[in-house]
Amino acid sequence: MDAAARDADEALVAIYTAHYRSLVRLSALLLHDVPAAEDVVQDAFVAMHGSWKRLRDTDKALAYLRQAVVNRSRSRLRHLKVVDRKASSLLPADARAHMPSAETGAMAALDRAHVLVALRSLPQRQREVLVLRYYSDLSEAQIADAMGISAGAVKSHASRGMTALRQRLEQTS
């Protein structure tokens, strides 16, 4: 095995150790399917290993992985058609059944499960931006890089996503 291949192998292990779990969680938050998320991230790591000669830098590799995970998660959703189309217009009955009354304060009493249900009902790009911003703690520039869109588009998706999220939650309170 040559030095470049050894370098790629070592980088793979190091980056896996540091970031595999968080990337699986990122993908799982987008896909809502943990085994599929593991497949997506493993695909991304194999691709990253194959591109190591070009990357040769951990930060670049992590940016590459994020982009690959977001893209592959999106492809997986499209391919498997697991997007819950019903969720785009209303929350499931079981979620509504546990919503607090309006008297208790709509925002204050909403629990986390309802937020996740509402998040999953958002358009895909808005959901991706919100997950990358509020779970991965990425800057607008990093989100733009991961999604392959402009920083302005990130702002737009984030703003619309938060507005839509609030509306979905308030509709059910």
Binding site: A5, E38, D39, V41, D43, F45, H49, Y135
Partner: protein, 590 residues
């Protein structure tokens, strides 16, 4: 509530929802081996593809090559199959010179919650290879394994009566109990139900629960990854109950402090404690045992399998606690982004000086002119309570709470009227004879001298370390909380080396080392002092004045703030980097 408040609340809710959801996602442990397997397959394929490609190829051979690839691809990744291009020069592998990669066989994954008697597939395989099934047949028998687990791992021999046995091909539960002796009576009692799963030729324990369902552990969750110390909690029940909480692995007890015994009952909704540990193994269990008041033997046993986070020298706590909008808030240590509020808004006042002690955040809460109090709020969220109040006409300007016994605290109170003497007092709220509270104080008649920033408790739980400014000078002093009665009735545990700079804030870490921030001629410094030796750990150049420092319990990470609210994060072996906080932070904690 304003629109801005609603935005902030929604952002907090979304962030905590995503974090909590993410915490429940535990990838299988075979990710790396799967990736490496695919990389090896790909490399092997390239090894025979490249030489033959140099020779050129024909379409029919490409089909054969694709067929070989199709045989070798991992069946769990249907989307990775690429269609063969009949026009491309893809040759067939030459069996005489190279061997096509073998099909990848996906083996059963080692159960992620298993912690006894093996914690890895390799250990189980070694046991099989060494003829373990013949030599240690109890590992292959769920009933014998359950008894051995309770006797050896939990260290409660005598729980050997089998009350229930439920065994399938893959899973097993065995309920064990014993005979309880209460005076002249002998009462049979169920003690625990041991849950196991089968892997290869072995049965593996994944947890144990109280057979009656009373003694439950709500935190940590099964399979959760933990760093020391672990916060352990469960719902209360009964009357005057006592449980012992321990952390164990196959290597034995890995708890590093005293065995915590927690009392509860009489309507107390939750019991909790914090247990420090140093685990040499990747997995283990939090074990909670209730001992019978009748005969001292085990009455209930619960065990939760957990994973242990690898402690890295250059790690730092994931969160810190600071103040935003006059409320105690939790922040990301990496990005400085706010995550959630812990306290509610207070009209005419606000929170300041948060300090994390155990599982609570202590802070000062102002409530109008010349009124404040030392309060606490659970770090996990909940109601806040008042811990101490200053004398009338005084406000608390700095405080420290003893980590080992939060009934004990010390604070410096300052008169609101500069004409009043004493202008300040260093107060010690202590406990004598283990039950009686005692309040003593050292008067600071006129400033200077005065205590700046927070007093902090030394590791012995008896002495209080404080930075005392004496005009143009300052030093780190140590007072005896039970005997000191005057300003100069103190020692200087770190000496008085002016080359280190002017001390402005101090804190003691879990090992007892004293840390203090200093202002130097070229900026700020943070000094670590242990065994009488004071050494600068790191510096920040500039004209800033240190305001506060927070030292991680393991002494491996420090947060330093300046009076303008900028925050620097330092980890052992590294350099200080500024944290891009969204709001200025002069006082914080982690």
């Amino acid at each position: 509530m304003s629109a801005d408040d609603r935005d902030v609340r929604l952002e907090e809710l979304l962030r905590t929802s995503l974090y909590d959801e993410a915490e429940t996602i535990i990838p299988a442990g075979d990710g790396l081996s799967r990736i490496q397997g695919r990389v090896t397959t790909r490399r092997a394929r390239a090894a025979w593809w490249h030489p033959m490609a140099a020779l050129g190829g024909v379409a029919v051979v490409a089909v054969a090559g694709f067929a070989a690839y199709a045989l070798t691809r991992t069946p769990t990744h249907p989307n990775t199959v690429t269609t063969g291009n009949v026009n491309s020069p893809t040759p067939t592998p030459d069996a005489s010179t190279s061997t096509p990669p073998a099909p990848v066989v996906v083996k059963p994954t080692f159960p992620r919650a298993a912690f006894y008697p093996f914690t890895s597939e390799a250990a189980e395989q070694q046991w099989v290879a060494q003829d373990g099934p013949s030599k240690q047949p109890w590992i292959g028998d769920p009933e014998l394994l359950a008894k051995t687990f309770v006797a050896s791992f939990v260290q409660q021999p005598g729980v050997t009566d089998v009350y229930a046995r439920n065994v399938s091909d893959r899973t097993a539960t065995i309920t064990l109990g014993r005979t309880l002796h209460d005076g002249n009576r002998a009462v049979p009692v169920k003690v625990t139900t041991v849950s196991m799963v089968r892997f290869d030729k072995a049965w593996l324990v994944v947890g144990a629960s109280d057979a009656d369902g009373q003694l439950r552990v709500s935190h940590p969750k099964s399979g959760q990854k933990l760093a020391s110390p672990v916060f352990v909690a469960g719902p209360g029940y009964g009357v005057d109950e006592n449980v012992q909480v321990d952390v164990r692995t196959v290597s034995g007890i890995v708890r590093t402090g005293q065995l915590p015994t927690v009392g509860f009952g009489n309507g107390v909704p939750q019991w909790s404690t914090t247990v420090p540990f140093a685990a040499p193994d990747p997995r283990g269990a939090v074990v909670v045992v209730e001992l019978s008041a009748a005969d001292g033997g085990p009455a209930r046993i619960t065990a939760v399998g957990v994973n242990f986070a690898t402690v890295q020298a250059a790690s730092y706590p994931q969160y810190f606690y600071g103040v935003k909008n006059g409320r105690v808030a939790k922040f990301s240590s990496r990005t400085g982004s706010p995550i959630s509020y812990l306290t509610t808004p207070v009209p005419g006042g606000g929170a300041s000086d948060p300090q994390l002690v155990g599982d609570k955040v202590y802070y000062l809460e102002g409530a109008g002119t010349c009124v404040d109090a030392l309060r606490s709020v659970p770090a996990a969220g909940g109601s806040s309570t008042t811990v101490a109040s200053p004398d009338p006409g005084y406000v608390i300007t700095g405080f420290g709470v003893l980590a080992g016994d939060t009934r004990i605290n010390s604070y410096f109170e300052t008169s609101c009227d500069p004409a009043v003497s004493p202008q300040g007092r260093l107060v010690f709220d202590t406990i004598v004879n283990d039950t009686n509270s005692q309040r003593t104080a050292i008067d600071f008649d006129n400033f200077p001298p005065q205590v700046v920033d927070d007093p902090t408790w030394a590791a012995d739980g008896r002495h209080v370390i404080a930075v005392v400014h004496t005009g143009t000078q300052a030093e780190v002093r140590q007072y005896d909380a039970y005997q000191s009665s005057k300003i100069d009735d103190a020692t200087t545990p770190c000496g008085s080396d002016p080359s280190l700079g002017l001390p402005t804030a101090t804190q003691v870490d879990g090992s007892g080392a004293v840390w203090f921030a200093t202002q130097t001629g070229s900026g700020m410094g943070v000094v670590r002092c242990a065994g009488g030796q004071a050494v600068t750990a790191f510096t920040v150049t500039g004209k800033d004045t240190p305001a506060d420092l927070a030292v991680a319990d393991n002494g491996q990470a420090v947060l330093l703030t300046d009076t303008s609210g900028a925050v620097w994060r330092w980890t052992a072996g590294g350099v200080a980097t500024q944290v891009p906080t969204s709001v200025p932070q002069t006082q914080l904690t982690w």
